[in-house]
């Protein structure tokens, strides 16, 4: 029976990719370990190795095909003694050709790749003039453009971190920056978070404007002392004489199938610290406008991106200088029955839940906080005064989490308006498990948000 070669995943979060090139022709003999094709995503390129021996029977996906979903059959291999006639037989059970595991436990439907935010009832962005042309862009490219624009604007801005230059970014966020700005301003560091965070802060104290990329914020734990004790506190300790304008950025929060040390949300950790500003955007437009604002800000800014969101596409206003003020939440969807508050990837659950709730006649108002510190209490409170009910959604743990802070503020400022207790939907109180089913259980879900929203509406 012919063996199917499936589209492999390059990373745990990959859902689709391009079939760049076939290196073997139909009818060619294939040995185990032969490179038969090259696939690529916007992030990386990988060779597909054969794990079976035989003859390349039929190429099912021609080279140059874009957006091939992971696990799609791309070719068949005929075992010894089989001929092209055998191709008509029912395919063998699917088995990926490459080492990389499929992105999800359940094979995603081909079109489910790169989900975009539900667009229903989106509120117009007050920062964008009416009639502005919008371009479709991934969060990843929006972040890159933000850095490139600010680097063109200010020679004191530079990027440093692991693999930001020649590798083009571990998650390809800094793609092309080395080519445009050169090695002086796009600097590959050794694997040495504590050290390069300190060097970044020192350079900022001397007046430069570093963008320090952490490959993920999990590794920034090694640099925590420099971020908090040196970056956040020096302005105060110097009586206002010496601060530092610096951005620490990189992916934060749960990735997929990487277990507890590589999958954690640091939102509440950083938002605890006076002296830091903390931004965690969800949409591509916000990623761009807020990163530009962060780079210009004279204070240390923690810019929490999300690996799962990098490939998401959104509408980004085509403006010469699109800068979004730090500290302003955005009402992404208006409604009158319950307020759902989230940020970053939590918005994925919040918006899906709002769609579900609408089917049951519950109109949820969804607020994307965008900035966690300073927190836009006013927008939250005004909404809760209208709805009388609130649900917070975060991937981080509930204890001492951002949701806990939001709940406290609502209690302080809108207690008399509440018709139900504020409810938190959060990551479960366990380290992130590896197994696909457990990981899914550990994270919040749209269903949990729906349930919480119904509960506070007494439905």
């Amino acid at each position: 029976m012919p063996i199917q070669v499936l589209m492999p995943a390059l990373s745990p979060t990959m859902e689709k990719g391009n079939l760049a090139k076939w290196l073997k022709k139909e009818g060619e003999t294939i040995k185990s370990g032969d490179v038969i094709a090259e696939i690529e995503t916007d992030k990386a390129t990988m060779e597909v190795e054969a794990t079976d021996e035989g003859t390349l029977g039929k190429i099912l996906i021609p080279e140059g095909t874009a957006d091939v979903a992971v696990n799609t059959p791309i070719a068949t291999i005929l075992a010894d003694g089989e001929s092209a006639a055998d191709l008509a037989k029912a395919p063998a059970p699917a088995k990926p050709a490459a080492e990389a595991p499929p992105a999800k436990a359940e094979a995603p439907a081909p079109k489910s790749a790169a989900p975009s935010a539900p667009q229903a009832v989106a509120e117009p962005d007050p920062e964008v003039p009416a009639g502005t042309e919008m371009v479709k862009q991934t969060v990843r490219d929006a972040l890159r453009d933000a850095m490139a624009e600010e680097m063109r604007r200010d020679a004191d801005v530079f990027v440093m971190g692991e693999e930001v230059a020649e590798y083009q970014g571990a998650y390809k966020v800094t793609q092309g920056l080395l080519q445009e700005f050169g090695a002086k301003r796009v600097i590959d560091t050794p694997i040495t978070e504590h050290g390069f965070a300190g060097i970044g802060v020192g350079a900022a104290m001397a007046g430069l404007k570093p963008i320090v990329e952490f490959m993920t914020f999990n590794f920034a734990m090694q640099a925590m002392d420099q971020i908090i004790n040196s970056a956040a506190k020096t302005l105060y300790m110097s009586g206002g004489q010496m601060g530092c304008s610096i951005v620490f950025r990189g992916p934060n929060g749960a990735a997929a199938r990487v277990a507890a040390q590589h999958s954690q949300d640091y939102s509440s950790w950083y938002s605890h610290i006076p002296g830091l500003k903390v931004i965690a955007p969800y949409s591509a437009a916000d990623a761009k406008g807020l990163l530009k604002a962060a780079i210009r800000d004279p204070n240390p800014v923690i810019f929490l991106e999300n690996e799962v969101l990098y490939g998401h596409t959104g509408e980004v206003p085509k403006l010469d200088d699109y800068v979004i003020p730090i500290g302003k939440a955005r009402i992404v969807r208006s409604g009158s029955h319950v307020t759902i508050i989230s940020w970053s990837n939590g918005m994925t659950y919040a918006l899906k839940a709002a769609d579900e709730l609408a089917k049951d006649g519950i109109e949820a108002e969804v607020i994307d906080l965008r900035t966690l510190r300073p927190m836009d209490t006013e927008t939250i409170i005004n909404s809760v005064k209208k709805t009388g009910r609130a649900v917070t959604v975060e991937e981080g743990w509930a204890q001492s989490g951002v949701g806990a802070e939001i709940a406290a503020r609502i209690m302080e400022h809108a207690f008399d308006y509440l018709d139900a207790p504020v409810t938190r939907v959060s990551g479960k109180d366990v380290p992130m498990p590896y197994a696909a089913n457990l990981e899914k259980l550990a994270l919040p879900s749209a269903a949990e948000v729906v349930e919480a929203a119904k509960a506070v509406c007494y439905r």
């Binding site: 802060v201 020192g202 104290m205 110097s238 009586g239 601060g243």
Partner: protein, 340 residues
Amino acid sequence: MAAPKKAAASAPQDKTNGGSPPEFTREQELKALRDMLLIRRFEEKAGQLYGMGAIGGFCHLYIGQEAVVVGMQMALKDGDQVITGYRDHGHMLATGMEANGVMAELTGRRGGYSKGKGGSMHMFSVEKKFYGGHGIVGAQVSLGAGLAFANHYRGNDNVAVTYFGDGAANQGQVYESFNMAELWKLPVIFVIENNRYAMGTAVSRASAQQDFSKRGLSFNIPGHQVDGMDVRAVKAAADEAVAWCRAGKGPVILEMQTYRYRGHSMSDPAKYRTREEVEKVRHDQDPIEQVRNRLLAAKVSEQDLKAIDAEVRDIVNASADFAQHDPEPDAAELWTDVYR
């Protein structure tokens, strides 16, 4: 001492007290004496005020180590930066910061360099290129490499002098910084002030490699051991290190062999070393006495030396007076300077 050269297996390990360092001119001797005396008298006064309860928290005195910062400073030029840990009063005075502002910070008053919000361990002067004053042991080493990074980025020839102690020299980020400093040829002088004790732990009890000039060997950073009690030796080592950095050759390590007479902080139990040990260093090696004796031998009059003493005492007494009478910060200052 030998010129700094690329340290391979045979990194220069010369002890400058083996040979005699270059003589100072009379002017240099007088300046060194005056600057070291200012630090000593200032610190003595700070110790007194601490005992009176006018200074709170931690207070780490620099007495005994004065030659290190004074000698280093004599080799610097405008625009060169200085950064250190928490034993920082001497460094501030040496960079030209006002005694009033430093002492008033110690007493937590509004006229202090940080408006009373930083205290003994956290003072800064952008004007004097003094970048602190850092309370976390070893943090200043990465920060200092960052100051040097800024010089390198801007293409100027300034040098960042980064001080830390024998205790901090065991912190991991020190070596992360050594690696990047050499990799990127950053103009930074790592001055390891080896005063023989990290708090109460003798170097021999904490350090596998007690020759700190060798601590950069695996990064190819040249290192030198310097008699940190002889201001001339410090200045000579600094001159060469500064020239090395300005020429774009990367970092240098200077191990300053020095000694602190006082406790680690004011609350030191002094159980880890003998009184005799301290007395012997004071008697045999005191950096200020060395200069004074040379000046007397060179026929400078007692009268002239007393005049310097008097000038320094006036500055210190005035600072103590200011620091005790300056008002505390306005309550509104609680909320300022968190962001800008």
